[in-house]
Amino acid sequence: MGNLKGRKYLSVLLILMTVLAAVFSGGCSADKNDAENGENSRDNSMELGFTAETLPIIDGATALAPYYEAMAAELLGMDVSEARQYTLCSKTDGAYENLIAGKADMIFCSMPSSEQQEMAAEAGVEFETVPFLNGGFVFFVNKDNPVDSLSVEQLHDIYAGKITNWKEVGGDDVKIVPYQRPNNSGSQTGIYKYVISEDEIMEAPTEMKIETMGEIIDAVANYENSEGAIGYSYYYYVANMHNSDEIKLVQIDGIAPSDETIGNGTYPIINPSLMVINKETAADSPIRDIVKWVLSDEGKRVARENGYIPIEK
């Protein structure tokens, strides 16, 4: 029995090594040797031995802060409430600016925008990006809506205003109310990236709001879970939606978003999160040690413990 168990664990280990090797050889920009060493990084918080003084400056997107703060806690051997005082959270734009300006050593963000890439090029900085988490971009409807699945093309046409009634996609004879998000929000950037361009998207439902000083503005209306409504967000946040018991996630091409389908990449709209460093970072830099740690089992454990889905393939 002991031998059987041993073989089982050995095979799991081999699979993990193969998967990790595949990740690094499959287009990600991390150094190949680093990737091959990734599985040896368990317990390397001890080996890395960072202190508050030696920890590289880490920055990133708000939604990834729980990950890199927990990571810092592991690397520093501190409680996370103490460790987060040693990491920045300048949001995506600010983090890229800090990386370009040399005010951050590594950042945890989504893909750089064309503006951020241009800004880097102007400053003579080249990004090295390493995907480490998968996120899903998801659509949701009222739980009583009989439509379970849509294609990306159908979603495109709904948001272009070409499909206006649920009966056109196999549902009831109910007008579709396609909600959007504020234009500078992460979710709106998502729909432009994955489903429809900013030029093609129809006008959003709006509501009148009064800002300070009595100024009246037309603001993008919040998702209301009416019969014909459809909205979108990131998988990570959907559980948090106020009416989450009353909505259902839409399958894309018959594949439901889940930890499994997002983690293994079969869900069609995947939004990876990246570690981004300056490509000029030295091979023996402690920054690269952290990259290795994040890709290790230990790094993945921390990701899962904080509600993220580490890239498994």
């Binding site: 508050a52 997107a61 939604a63 996370v80 920045l88 504020p182 106020h242």
Partner: protein, 562 residues
Amino acid sequence: MDIFRLKNKKRISCFLSMVIIGALAVSGCAGNEQPGEAASGFLKHKEHKNYIVENPLKFERIMVDAEGNPLEDEADEGGDFYREYGILKVSGLRDKAVEKKINDRIAEKFKECVGSLPAYRGIKILLGDEKQLLNENIYTYQSFNCNNVLSVVMERNAGYRNESDGEKGDDVYFSQTETMNFDLNTGEEIGFSELFGDEEAYKYLNDSVKAFLSENNAQEEQGEDIYGTLIQTKPFEKLDSEQKYYLNDSYINLVMDYETPEFQTNMNSYSISIPWSQNIYLTENYFSESEDIYESDEPLAKCLIADVSGEEKRIYSYENEEGVEMMVRGSYRSTTPEFIQEKIEAFSANGFQGIDKELKKYYRQAAEECSRENCYGSCMKTVNVSAFGGYINYEEGIYASVTGHQSSWADTITYFDKNKSTQSVYRKSDSKKMELEDFFKNRQDCEKLVKEAMVKAVQRNFEENSGWISKDEALKDYVFGEGENKEKDLRFIDKMYDNICGMSLSGTYMSFLAENFSKGEEIFREIYGEDCPFSENSYIFTTGVYRLKYSEIGCENLSIFE
């Protein structure tokens, strides 16, 4: 094989740890009781009165130095930086040991706060090892003082300069909100977990926070930084048992800051305010009218609870007709009774009651005399609704004016100025439109009590403005002073009373409306034969007479607290 055995052992110990932690969590012996499980509390749904009772405490604001020692001067100029510290001293409790406990805790909280670095994200990176204090300000105030509960808020603002490596680095500013909520019977602080009478109230608060976050797109990382913006770093699940909070008359305020890492608040504290409503209200667990814990012999001062539940609805329309701006503005809440909503709709749809025609006529005249670019005409129609303690205030108004000036240096000419407004109070339970007498237990006492309260209101207004006006000097000749005007004073009050044409209720005041804003000044002139003195504070004899504290009328005389 040994390696695998070790790993198995690790897994077993890990599993056992999880079981132990789980058991601790379930039994609650970790001392971290979940809010919803608390057996007692003063927030509870459904069973409540429509009022709360003000605690007759006295508050003294004391300026102190960084060690908490009282200062004679208001501010402590600390060389290269500026600092100002104010704490609160409470008095008026019969039990001096309890009073001392409260004041000691406030002083202790100040010492914890001053000069400390709140654990905001990145603060130690931004400030480095060497930092120079630029400014520090601590302000302490009472946000809530009713039903034997006292909420004290300590607001701190500070700025530091990073001077690591001997260089002048960036400046970092932050704000911090510390709160203390005292049970005045014992002087003990009331923890957040003690707020709840049952699971339903706790769930309601959590749902309210979720709704707030959803309405404010808090899960979206916005592209622009806005001061005070609250952004989630991860999905919000529930409020912690030690959530920082403070109360005020209408809300429970939940402070989000470095202690709530699921939010990124950009080195500032941020409050989510959840209104009292039929789902969550103050109970009287800490209060009994028969047990007097205060030194004061004054009768109880009661406050109607504001109902700010439901979504705020705004009415707004704007048109420019022949150069004249025509606007309709208003607000009410989604919880406003239907019969009031029907009135709002009718008023909004009912045009400008002929005033617009008159206005346009004068605008044309102004345009001829001053040219169009030098004249301005507007007509604004407003409708507003508010609710206190089971009563609805309904206010309508039309404000129209045309002004112009014949050249850029010429005086402004008023061609037309017309204001018309009404204020009514309705009882929510039966939609009854209230008459002034209806608010009194004995209708026949109404006039006498209101007139007496008007005199008290004048005297209070003088007290409150004693910095600008000498009360003795001012009252010598007017309104129940020692002069020879007693008969005039009585006539003045009588006339003011007779001119009441509308009313409204708020938490602590009953307010009246006269035909127009300047009515009080007209009456003053008519009675005393001269213009109202103290022109900068003429409201003392005008609108001030029309704003009466319930305690000035006598809460025991009013039916609204029954």
